[in-house]
Amino acid sequence: MSRGVRGLRVGRVICTALLVLGISGHLIAQTQAKQPGAAKNAVAKNSSARASAAPVDITALKAVGTKAAPITMEVFSDFQCPACRELYFQTVRPVIDNYVSAGKVYLIHRDNPLQQHPHSREAARYANAAARVRKMEKVVVALFDKQANWAADGNIDGVVAAALTPAEMNQVRKLVRSGTLDAGIDRDLALGNQFRVTQTPTTIITYKGQTYPVVGVVTYNMLKTFLDQLLRQ
């Protein structure tokens, strides 16, 4: 056997060994970083976060559809983020029309106001207040529809007022001024951290106990293909 050929064979063996070592090292490091204990804590925290919202089930108020639906979709969204607006009108609305109405999807809005958007937390407060008076959907549509306007001048109150009746708006204003809504928004943020949401929009799809994260704007046709694939399983 020539020296060159032997050298190449040795090189291949070294490469394969490095590949195996690298992958197994990475797997071990990740496994140690996330021990079962940590996972149980995360689940426990999640449950307690949900349980602490027990007096008013705000999640149910921020959701559309039936809880018995086989698929749950949680959309982590920021009202001031243009991509979230795109996702809402291009994908979420058709999902509501075709899957939520058919009892196949339970859709939950989750707040994930980003720090770089100065008005997004205030917008989330208005949306949460509207949820408590059962007018969330109307307000969400108005906020996304007029996003450019209130993002520029900060007049969220005016946009929401145009979408509600004066009586509803009075209730919403009272709730916003009460300062009690931030806890709910922070709970959504904490839940987002558990799902490792790093950007908006991020959609978490849950089916038969499995969660599937979808980061960014997904078109309705793609989502439809994926949901149909899940439902066929």
Partner: protein, 166 residues
């Protein structure tokens, strides 16, 4: 020297391709390892707005496996000229699409190494370096092959019957 540079280049590229595939295909969760759904990568591909939906979905399902195969083949060093050429063509395509999106000011995820990897000038620099490395390995692989072929041709050249050289 050249052989060692090619060796280091292909091993580095191999690891990069295997890692890129891994971040698109698998995730560690509280329940253990699992395969990521294709839809997340499809959404990233779609955000570049260069392919129709069907093509984006097809690519999302196949590209990570292709990257994995390329990475493993680079690490093993089989058919290096053709594997390195394929890697260079792939990286050149990625680089062209990234430059286009950056110039257009698209605020999107690169998608190169899983979700959360924003497209910035650093992404272009990183991918540019990878492309340079890949092209160098490809050229090196072809040059080395030619030299080896020349040497073999010389050693196999017919000798005069009386043993005298001309």
């Amino acid at each position: 020297m050249m052989r060692w540079l090619i060796f280091l280049g292909r091993v580095a590229l191999g690891f990069v391709f295997v890692y890129a595939a891994y971040t698109k295909l698998f995730e560690y969760t509280a329940e253990g390892w699992r395969q990521l759904p294709w839809i997340s990568f499809a959404a990233t591909i779609q955000s570049y707005k260069v392919l129709p939906e069907d093509a984006a979905m097809f690519l999302a399902k196949t590209l990570p496996w292709f990257e994995l195969a390329l990475g493993v083949l680079l690490l093993i060093g089989v058919q290096l000229r053709w594997v390195a050429t394929a890697a260079s063509v792939l990286l050149l395509t990625f680089f062209a699409v990234l430059v286009r999106s950056y110039v257009l000011g698209m605020n999107i995820d690169c998608g190169c190494f899983g979700p959360g990897d924003r497209l910035t000038w650093k992404t272009l620099l990183r991918d540019g370096l990878l492309l340079f490395m890949s092209i160098s390995v490809t050229v090196g692989a072809f040059l080395t092959r030619r030299k080896t072929a020349d040497v073999s041709a010389l050693t196999r050249a017919p000798q005069p019957a009386d043993g005298r050289s001309e």
